[in-house]
Symmetry: C2
Subunit: 400 residues, 2 copies
């Protein structure tokens, strides 16, 4: 196997789409010939700065490019974030102040550099070119794309069909994102599979401006701890990169065995564990603990991850639970859709009343598998749950 | 009848829509109370600077406003014209150079002042504010309108349904037009009934920017000399404001009796002729000649209009035709859809061959009812046609 074949194989591993097929190979060959690194773009929305495991799928692929000598261009969409939804219709797209964006961008970058090589990363802001753009040039940019093509985007066509409002400015965001690729001279752009459409717009806009179009690479979306929805901060089903090793370890331990297999596939595609698991050479609980330890180690190092595992086992598996442990139940019934925590805690004597339980949650005194709970509703995915209230009360649940 | 009732009646005469009903009256009352004129906007596209009778319908209404002391804001959309269709898909929306726009605007203004009162007209260009607008403010502007509402515009929804491309920039034009009303603080905006949608967008955009929304007034579209299509330069069915009195007179004489009734209604709503015509007190030919003379007089004065009528009658009605007149036929058959002029001229001996006939047309030697013919195909609308070739050959046709 030649070096270039190995390089290509590594870059393609775990990737859903490479569009167009074959062009990545050509770009790599050109870069080698011209002795210049490829410019590999990732766009980030600075409205929600907390990175979680879902983001790390793309970041790990960017790291592959860096390890092979290429440059990552980490683009912060501050121009777009400042505009948000000026009509105020969308809560999730509130226009952000310059200060908020700057603070978010710093948080973001700091977290990103737990995975990326700082020396091979260029951090850019699209305000650099978009602030200088006149309305007339912006209209010309819009002339390079048709309404029908923008409306092909799944979420737009769905909202349009259902009669839900789409602000005209929303159609323009993909064009701005495309123009960013012109300004950055991106050779490759990465994103989740849900970004496929936007990344392809970039190719068209680059062509319209006489720039070589980028190769588009999409990566799988990671399901959250509930095993159903895409991991997202707003759904509360995430494992945050900035969380403690105990929280990361505990959250991974709470996922179902099926989801564990999926996370191995997406987060640790080179691991041997899934094969051993399928062959019955390793117990699912041990496999899950290794995944939990591995993910904690990515952000806190091997020593801290091992310590988190030890603490978890002590509290949970080895029976070293607090003295006032109220009850341990094996729930054999079908996995419930959700646990209403105040009712559950009160029912099992961990709180005196629903209102006390709510107060405890608000005070961040309730943890599930070591991770602080902030919502009154919890969506278990199977596996084992240790619900702790303060330091001395706990409830252990195990779903079949 | 009070002054204000008479004022309102005059302004409403011949208008198709006043939106919202009642608001014009309120604006007039406010203007009277505050002793300030209303600002009445008309937008013009500087891509086709030749004004024709179709345009005069709106201009005459603007003149009504001026005669009552109000200010007309004549807006030249130079910003929009400079952008055109940057993708080059549309031939009719080619981006125009600054020089072309300036020249067109001068031609336009010169023609407009044959009808408007120069002292009560403000000529403005939307580049004044649009050139200074940043892309970010432009996106905010776009946030004040939804895709669904823009797509309600008849031509957009039709093209979208039929899968014909609409550039994203095209959606933005109505928003720019709406913002112009913000910048100009328009109290009223006028347009043809085909502009109803765009004029209403102006109201919404004004509201979003905290400006009192304009009253929208739409006026009927004038059918061209063919009696079918809207009058337009590109269809060749127009009577140009800048044409000679002979051309105007002759073109009006070429229209059908039905179309004549319609033109009276739209162009001379206060004339008694239609009533006399219905009562049989006046012959249709005389009615048509009065309309023709009246329209020629609007742009060339009464004396020139009377002279044009005399010349026409001499050449046509009184038999004072050139010596080599070849033939006079009364065509009793159904009115043809079109006359193919080279074939017709050759058939009746006015040219030796089709190719000679084509050359004569190209040399502007062929006239119909006194107006030079530039196309090889002519769409008769009924009435009388005198086809002249050079100064000495002619053919007279009369359709039933």
């Amino acid at each position: 196997m030649s070096d270039s074949t190995a390089e290509l194989a590594r870059l393609r591993r775990g990737v859903v789409d490479v569009i167009p097929e074959g062009e990545l190979e050509a770009k790599l060959a050109t870069a080698r010939r011209e002795k210049r690194p490829l410019r590999v773009k990732l766009g980030a929305d600075p409205s929600a700065p907390d990175l979680h495991l879902g983001h790390t799928v793309v970041l790990a692929k960017l790291r592959d490019f860096q390890d092979l000598g290429h440059t990552v261009v980490f683009l912060i969409g501050d121009f777009t974030a400042r505009i948000g939804d000026p009509s105020g219709r969308s809560e999730t797209r509130k226009p952000l102040s310059v200060e908020t964006i700057r603070a978010n961008a710093e948080t973001y970058a700091e977290q990103v550099f737990r995975l990326l090589d700082r020396a091979r990363t260029e951090v850019r802001f699209n305000s650099e070119w978009m602030d200088a753009m006149a309305a007339s040039d912006f209209m010309r940019l819009c002339g390079h794309y048709t309404v029908a093509r923008v409306m092909e985007r799944d979420d737009f066509s769905k909202r349009f069909r259902e009669g839900r409002p789409i602000g005209v400015h929303e159609l323009l965001y993909p064009l701005v994102q495309g123009y960013d690729s012109v300004a950055l001279r991106a050779d490759v752009e990465l994103g989740g599979t849900d970004q496929r459409f936007n990344l392809l717009v970039g190719r068209e806009i680059q062509k319209a401006y006489g720039v070589a179009p980028q190769v588009v690479m999409t990566l799988p979306l990671l399901e959250g701890t509930d095993g159903v929805q895409k991991m997202s901060k707003s759904l509360g089903n995430y494992v945050g990169v900035a969380e403690s090793s105990d929280e990361i370890f505990g959250k991974v331990m709470s996922i179902s065995d099926d989801l564990m297999r999926r996370w191995y596939e997406v987060l640790e595609p080179e691991s041997d564990v899934p094969r051993d698991l399928a062959a019955g050479r390793i117990h699912p609980r041990e496999a899950k603990a290794r995944l939990a330890e591995g993910q904690a180690a990515r952000f806190h190092g091997a020593a801290q991850a091992a310590a988190a595992r030890a603490r978890f086992d002590e509290r949970f598996a080895k029976g070293g639970l607090p003295s006032e442990l109220v009850e341990t139940r094996e729930i054999e019934a079908q996995l419930p859709d959700e646990l209403v925590l105040p009712a559950l805690l009160t029912e099992h004597g961990l709180s005196k009343s629903n209102s006390e339980a709510r107060r405890l949650i608000a005070q961040r005194a309730v943890r599930i598998n070591g991770a602080v709970v902030t919502s009154e509703r919890y969506h278990p995915a199977g596996g084992e749950l240790l619900i702790e209230v303060g330091k001395r009360r706990a409830l252990k649940l195990a779903f079949r």
